[in-house]
């Protein structure tokens, strides 16, 4: 079988090679920060709103565009969590199908599609890791609630804005190793503070202090963005 091919949209590709607008406001998404430069740097939240509308109409090309926009970042995030390519592929598929199935409930005007996509991806991966480990730090109901389309209405649509993300990434890299470790264990492993304390063989109070001081640094950076 062909390894990868656009399925149903040759007509559109032939006629409309420039699927994505370059927005006048210059907003760019953070994916371009994370690896090789690609066209995703030209995508803005306005493109995402339009894409979300097409997903709601269940246009096959919308799914292809969603994958082209977020496939690599989603795969990389999931792989970072599960560390297994075959599992990562299954979970990426599950993530995209979940978005496809629930797009009708997504508010394309007020919602942040990228934020929803990456949250679903993280939750799918953590759910898998926890099931393998026999851990249930968060219940399935909690995960379900956190990735509900309505949870992404009215959050800042440029949450993945390149400047904002760059600032936070810079701040993150300047945290001390223990601070970074606890945030990474929380985000990529889904560990609770008690589980971290056990893993690190440190008092719970110490782990909490590392986590809080790390988050304060990041919060202060966001405050700078706001001002």
């Amino acid at each position: 079988m062909p390894a990868a091919a656009v399925s149903t949209n040759f007509g559109i590709i032939v006629l409309c090679p420039a699927n994505f607008r370059v927005e006048a406001d210059g907003l760019r998404y953070a994916m371009s920060l994370t690896g090789k430069t690609n066209w995703q740097s030209r995508v803005s939240y306005k493109d995402d709103a339009e894409l979300a509308e097409r997903l709601k109409r269940r246009e096959p090309q919308a799914m292809a565009d969603l994958y082209d926009r977020y496939g690599r970042t989603t795969y990389s995030l999931i792989f970072r969590i599960v560390r297994n390519t075959a599992v990562a592929e299954d979970l990426v598929q599950e993530t995209f199908l979940r978005i496809w199935n629930r797009a009708r409930a997504f508010d394309s005007e007020r919602g942040a599609l990228g934020a929803w996509m990456l949250t679903v991806a993280r939750n799918r991966a953590l759910d898998y890791v926890r099931s393998v480990d026999g851990r249930m730090a968060q219940s399935a109901a909690e995960l379900h609630e956190m990735e509900s389309p309505s949870a992404f209405a009215d959050i800042e649509q440029d949450v993945l804005n390149i400047d904002r993300v760059r600032l936070l990434r810079d701040a993150f890299t300047k945290l001390n190793p223990k601070q970074r470790e606890v945030i990474e264990m929380a985000y990529y492993e889904g560990l609770s503070q008690s589980e971290m304390a056990k893993r690190m063989q440190q008092p719970l109070g110490t782990v909490k202090a590392w986590a809080r001081s790390a988050l304060k640094v990041l919060r202060d950076q966001l405050g700078q963005v706001a001002t």
Binding site: A30, R57, R58, L97, N101
Partner: protein, 248 residues
């Protein structure tokens, strides 16, 4: 009880699922009490940590994954060898349709409808092409299901020992919200093996290819059930499709 300002320091941890014990219970009680400030703060806190999702090293994505995902969402995949002819044919179709649309309908909505129709037509053609290519393999075996049954769905399952299992189904019942179709390869005398998730298109049609070697002689049946969208390890509902494979 903590104040909203004190709870604000816990929101990122809660959003990441790292809060536990008494602090978690206290915050949840506070949120369930309807505090708008903390509810909004929680949304912002979750969003603010999303930069971490962009930090992992960007991996090379296996090229097959794109096609697999599009197929599972009801969009078919073409054969590269046909790509040029396909592009020309579809472009011609598109130009004709848009020209017709331009003659009769002046607004953007009409043009968009014409484009959507082209996409659907192209999807149907690509589906047919995928099936033909699979059938063209001498070793491919075919099983028909649903024929003569009073109720749909109907269709075919094509099995190829080296290429995999191709399901072509029509009139699939719409899946409820949060549900998805799951394909099962059922070995003779064995438990069903989960073989992939897929969706139908708006008309209830689906073409789904499960790539990979399949032991045709050792397979008893191919089945489809409706499952939670994360899939199941074993069927949890009565199959809507059962295609016996024995005797091929």
């Amino acid at each position: 009880m903590k104040t909203c300002q004190e709870f604000a320091e816990l929101l990122e941890l809660y959003a990441m699922g790292a809060l536990d014990g008494e602090e978690k219970a206290e915050l949840e009680q506070h949120l369930s009490g309807g505090c708008q400030v903390c509810s909004e703060g929680l949304k912002r806190a979750g969003a603010s940590m999303l930069f971490l999702a962009t930090m992992p090293e960007q991996m090379e994505v296996p090229s097959r994954l794109r096609a697999r995902i599009l197929a599972s969402a009801g969009a078919p995949r073409p054969n590269r060898g046909w790509m040029a002819a396909w592009a020309v044919a579809t472009a011609a179709l598109a130009i004709t349709a848009i020209w017709l649309a331009g003659r009769n309908l002046d607004d953007d909505r009409a043009l968009e409808a014409a484009r959507a129709e082209i996409r659907r037509t192209a999807a149907d053609l690509a589906n047919a092409q995928l099936a033909l290519r699979f059938l063209d393999e001498p070793e491919t075996k075919q099983v028909v299901f649903g024929r003569g049954q009073p109720q749909p769905p109907r269709g075919s399952v094509l099995l190829n020992a080296t290429r995999g299992v191709l399901l072509i189904a029509t009139h699939l019942p719409p899946t409820p919200s949060g549900k998805i179709y799951e394909l099962w390869v059922i070995p003779k005398g064995g438990a069903p093996r989960a073989s992939g998730l897929f969706q139908s298109n708006a008309q209830g049609d689906a073409v789904y290819l499960r790539e990979g070697a399949v032991d045709i002689a050792g397979t008893g049946a191919i089945a489809v059930t409706v499952e939670p969208e994360s899939g199941s390890n074993a069927p949890t509902t009565t199959p809507i499709v059962v295609a016996p494979v024995s005797g091929l």
